[in-house]
Subunit: 313 residues, 2 copies
Amino acid sequence: MYRPEIKVLDCTIRDGGLMNDWHFDTAMVKAVFTGLAQAGIDYVELGYRADKKQFSKDDFGPWRFCDEEDLREVAFECDTKVSVMADVGRTDFDDIIPAGQSIVKLYRVATYVKDIEKAIELGNHCKSQGYEVAVNIMAISHALEPDLDAALDHLAATDFDMVYLVDSFGYLQPRQVEYMAHKYLAKVPGKQIGIHTHNNQQLGFANTVEAAMKGITCLDGSIYGIGRAAGNCPLELIIGFLENPKFDLRPVLDLIERYFIPLKQELRWGYEMPYVITGLLNKHPRAAMAFLNGAHGDSFRAFYDELTNIQDV
Amino acid sequence: MYRPEIKVLDCTIRDGGLMNDWHFDTAMVKAVFTGLAQAGIDYVELGYRADKKQFSKDDFGPWRFCDEEDLREVAFECDTKVSVMADVGRTDFDDIIPAGQSIVKLYRVATYVKDIEKAIELGNHCKSQGYEVAVNIMAISHALEPDLDAALDHLAATDFDMVYLVDSFGYLQPRQVEYMAHKYLAKVPGKQIGIHTHNNQQLGFANTVEAAMKGITCLDGSIYGIGRAAGNCPLELIIGFLENPKFDLRPVLDLIERYFIPLKQELRWGYEMPYVITGLLNKHPRAAMAFLNGAHGDSFRAFYDELTNIQDV
């Protein structure tokens, strides 16, 4: 597919950090940024900017906080823009310095539907400091449709740049992505719409392709699919799909070979049956992660039965 | 999706055998058939019926030949039907005994477009012996469209039961599956159309779903995606997608846990960058399999460059 207006955002360090508390070493993150710049990626998301009053540097690696000096150690000014994510309720507004003093170009505000007004407040602050702003509405497969519609209406009235469709649980099928893409494009005219998928049912790439075919223009991927639990849409598949000659697959192949094949042995994101089961059942992967850590009985069958049993309410 | 007319065919032993020369032990194959029968699978393909004048039992395990007594050791008469595959040019017609004497119910004839008349001859023989017959046209991403059209026209004039759309190289995107599904359904009316995918670009399941949405009614899968190179569409994802209550995911979960997680460590089907590269470039996976055995230089980049370099012709 050749659609030059399509942008690609890599979330390797940010979403991958959910698997190792952001303990990636600086040389590796620098190699990742450099390789992704060579590959022509539009945005590289290097982590969260989390509130240090809530989270300690003793517990988490530097990419949980994305201090300006840490970012400048690994990134440099070029056509590839630095992005950071800011969680509603976990961000100190004072950490968001004026854009002219920062290497960051894009803030992505992550929120649930219920917190959309807080997300808009945080996004407005980022915008007033001079940044591009995206709002990522997470876990939409758990949202009631009228609530999601109202959130999109509110976002349409802002001056933010992007709104993201996020399949946090890896539950959506392509036909549901098509439905959602039409909704987002219709309700939030004039902004870029993005998609961020999870790969529980091996649909991350297919859902991203479906979104692009239906007019979504910002595509998230991560190298070798690294990300929480089943991981994200593999960046290398997106680059293979987009025929824009500005993208080059080869630096990404180098990064996979050097860093991500060994890392996958250690961190175990990807296709695992407990993640398939939570995705299929539209549930948060935390139960699957607990199962893989030995907490949920002794068989896939028992795990499946536990999650599908009707509970007293 | 609830479409009770949809049948599921498991090709675990047949396609998986391409990774270990069909050296699965009998107890394991018996457990697979039994579990798949409990799971409600319509057809279980237990291997090839290859010509013993061309292939030796010294070189290959029993599921390359599917002798009647071997099949009866692992399978039993029930609602789940036994299928075997017969390759054009590698099958002794005399091995195809009358259906009344065999536990086999379905013969699937595998062919390239250019050999379609040979496939029809072999299919006619199977039909005359009393079997259900499918023809699987392999490698359609290398076929010229008029040749494929002519092959489908010839198949439409037979009394075979099914015609299969086969993405041997894992090259097709869902939009191409949609195009092909429309073609097959229009050109071969009155027969069941099936789909068999490979998973090079993590599109095996998505392409199977797309085919089902567009009217294809026989879906191939294999347990934990086992199959040549990148493997096939994972059966467990198909069962999760189809809402027909006759299917039960749990026996498949048991088989994955007991047999296929250990086997994957040994046989290494699945998502590997060389398979991604051959899929993306619409090439046979043999180059990727050779690379993984150490024959093609020392890096993914070199492999990619080798396959993408323009060759003198």
